[in-house]
């Protein structure tokens, strides 16, 4: 299904490559710190690591503005971090503090940050897509050229919401890009045991929509396809389906036993880890020095540490919060 996008394949320039790498590393450093905090027993909520999938949101976010929106899923913290959501309110939320972006009421599965376009995070498989269409419709009404990204997984491509959403987006020519992170598994179910088609991108045919299978671990392939899809959406030509092939290194949820996959396939995926590979590429192509990248990393680590320190210093929300934000008007005690 990977269809060439023609001779003028868009390519990230040096600055773009560095920015994509920065976003990847921001995701990875944040993920690493999250898992460390969980191991230390400081965070108790379920955590769905996206380690290994960084290229997808890093590349897409590089091409977005703050006015562009994302609707994502439980495994979506990477999408927010890539979108440059500030880490303090993110961490405070994960820790259930009142200074969290959702005052501690939503938690990691429902992080929201409209200022950076993080509109919806859902824990229901498939449900990012129907809502993304609403933002797409609003863009048409606004007459602006904002795009909305609906992130979801390969397993989610089998649920009804996927179908209804792609059909509506196509009929209405909405500026929405459906980004499927195909990591080969839905919880413990291997792709082919739940999905009837060899490439999810083929499903786009059923919606009269362009669809591409992309190497989701290759920033160049991702860039080419995301660039074209976003341009298409901004031009009013409608939605695109991008199936981005990748792998989740940490299994479905933190603590996952991994018994449903072979050691070999996991080892092979980890060996092909896109993060060090892209790092090496930047150095090999002379775009950055070891020192520069180390400095970048140190800066990101400091940012993450600052967010962690901030979060744990925050207060828990007051129980009166149960009566707030149910409706616009506070519910009487």
């Amino acid at each position: 299904m990977s269809q060439s996008t023609g001779t003028n394949v868009p390519r990230p320039d040096a600055a773009a490559q560095l920015d994509i790498y920065r976003r990847m590393l921001r995701i990875e450093r944040n993920d690493d710190a999250t898992r460390a905090q969980i191991r230390r027993g400081r965070i108790t909520a379920p955590y769905y690591s996206a380690r290994g999938q960084e290229v997808i949101p890093a590349t897409i976010s590089h091409l977005l503005t703050d006015d562009d929106k994302i609707c994502t899923i439980y495994r979506g913290i990477q999408d927010m971090v890539a979108k440059d959501m500030p880490l303090r309110p993110l961490w405070a939320e994960i820790c259930g503090r009142v200074d969290g972006t959702c005052k501690g009421k939503g938690g990691p599965m429902h992080l929201t940050h409209p200022e950076t376009g993080v509109m919806v995070t859902t824990g229901i498989v498939g449900s990012s897509m129907p809502i993304a269409n609403g933002f797409g419709w609003a863009s048409l009404l606004d007459g602006k050229k904002h795009v909305t990204i609906a992130y979801f997984g390969d397993g989610a491509s089998n649920i009804g919401a996927f179908h209804e959403s792609l059909n509506l987006a196509s009929v209405w020519k909405l500026p929405v890009i459906f980004v499927c992170a195909n990591n080969g598994f839905a919880e413990h179910t291997r792709y082919e045991n739940g999905t009837s088609v060899d490439f999810i991108a083929r499903r786009a045919i059923g919606y009269g929509m362009p669809g591409f299978t992309v190497d989701g671990n290759d920033p160049f392939d991702m860039y080419a396809h995301a660039h074209a899809a976003i341009a298409r959406a901004r031009a009013g030509e409608g939605p695109t389906l991008l199936e981005c092939k990748t792998f989740r290194f940490m299994g479905h949820v933190f603590g996952d036993a991994d018994g449903y996959m072979t050691k070999e396939e996991k080892a092979a995926a980890v060996a092909a880890d896109p993060l060090p590979a892209f790092r090496q590429k930047l150095i090999d192509s002379g775009l950055a020095s070891e020192a520069q990248l180390a400095q970048l990393q140190a800066g990101l680590e400091a940012e993450v540490q600052d967010a962690i320190d901030f979060a744990f210093a925050c207060e828990a929300p007051d129980v009166a919060e149960l009566r707030r934000d149910v409706f616009a008007e506070e519910i009487a005690a």
Partner: protein, 336 residues
């Protein structure tokens, strides 16, 4: 859909359907953020299968008034997203039974996003839907699921029965900053009544005493209001004075008004078209008995649909629906 004008001192005679249409025209004219969409709602598709939305797309354009594919989940999703982006979508779910394919969007998302986001998101949508037995449309076209939504935090449930309320409550529902389920009832929607020519918004959450009485309070809403009013008229002939309270909004319901009436009469019967079993009437009955403990003259009775699907055959459908005679029997049973 042309309003049968019969003005008397600023009053117009119109059906509930005309009132709904009038409210939509008014709200769309007043606020350009108001959107109307759903299956067949645009004029190209006849302005709704019942014609309720006829003329809106001609007047307000195809971008604000849109027919959709048959895909209720995508309808509700589009409403939610557009609402979060600052619009005020009025989404139509043709019949209430069809909301079963979109419950995730309504319950897990529309109703919760404000809370789960700590107040950052708001979802000011109106879900207009139609239901009601009496037309022999059988088990999958006449259900009353309002109890499910009343039992869901974060969404209001409005269910008028009179044309003026259809208009005034729909205007308020559209203005409301939170999700509202607006239920149209198929037995009352086409019945004409008096509506002020300049009828404006009527506040949500306020009941209306549609019939004063002394001996017993009938608490009801939607299609059962006319049933209770008919029962009250018959009861009056037998010397029993029944007060009829139309809740108009089921959630939040007007506890003060209901308790005041029940305390005054000392007796209450709660009447719903929805199933009696674990139905919305239970909340009202439980509350009245709890709050007026020791001050009631009789136990609170509840009437609702029997424990079965809506049947097809006319005789069965008539028996299924609460009838004035059922209300009368329940009242007489507690009058001694």
């Amino acid at each position: 859909m042309s309003t049968q004008t019969m003005e008397t001192a600023g009053m117009v005679k119109m059906t509930g359907q005309q009132a709904v249409s009038a409210a939509l025209f008014q709200a769309m004219a007043e606020d350009s953020r108001v959107l109307v969409f759903g299956e067949d709602v645009a004029d190209r598709e006849g302005g709704g299968v019942m014609g309720t939305t006829k003329g809106l797309s001609a007047k307000f354009g195809d971008l604000r008034v849109r027919s959709t594919p048959i895909a209720e989940q995508s309808i509700m999703g589009a409403a939610i997203g557009a609402a979060m982006a600052g619009y005020k979508p009025v989404a139509e779910i043709m019949l209430m039974n069809f909301i079963t394919v979109a419950m995730d969007m309504v319950v897990n998302h529309a109703a919760k996003l404000r809370f789960m986001s700590g107040g950052q998101s708001q979802v000011p949508i109106v879900i207009r839907t139609l239901t009601g037995a009496g037309w022999q449309t059988a088990g999958q076209h006449s259900d009353h699921f309002e109890g499910w939504f009343a039992h869901t935090a974060g969404i209001k449930v409005v269910a008028p029965s009179a044309p003026a309320d259809y208009k005034g409550l729909l205007l308020s529902a559209i203005q409301d900053p939170d999700p509202v389920l607006f239920i149209e009832n198929s037995r009352t929607l086409f019945v004409p009544g008096e509506v002020a020519a300049d009828q404006g918004p009527i506040p949500l959450g306020k009941a209306k005493v549609v019939q004063d009485g002394r001996d017993v309070t009938l608490v009801t809403y939607s299609g059962m209001v006319q049933t209770c009013v008919a029962a009250a008229a018959e009861l009056a002939k037998e010397g029993i004075s029944a007060e009829v309270v139309d809740l108009r909004t089921l959630s939040p319901w007007d506890k003060d008004a209901v308790l005041a009436s029940a305390e005054k009469t000392g007796r209450a019967v709660v009447v719903t078209e929805a199933l009696r079993h674990f139905g919305p009437g239970a909340e009202i009955a439980a509350t009245i008995q709890e709050e007026l403990f020791g001050r009631l003259k009789a136990p609170v009775r509840r009437l609702g649909a029997p424990y079965c699907a809506v049947p097809f055959a006319k005789a069965l459908e008539d028996a299924y629906l609460v009838q004035p005679a059922d209300v009368m029997a329940a009242v007489k049973g507690i009058m001694r």
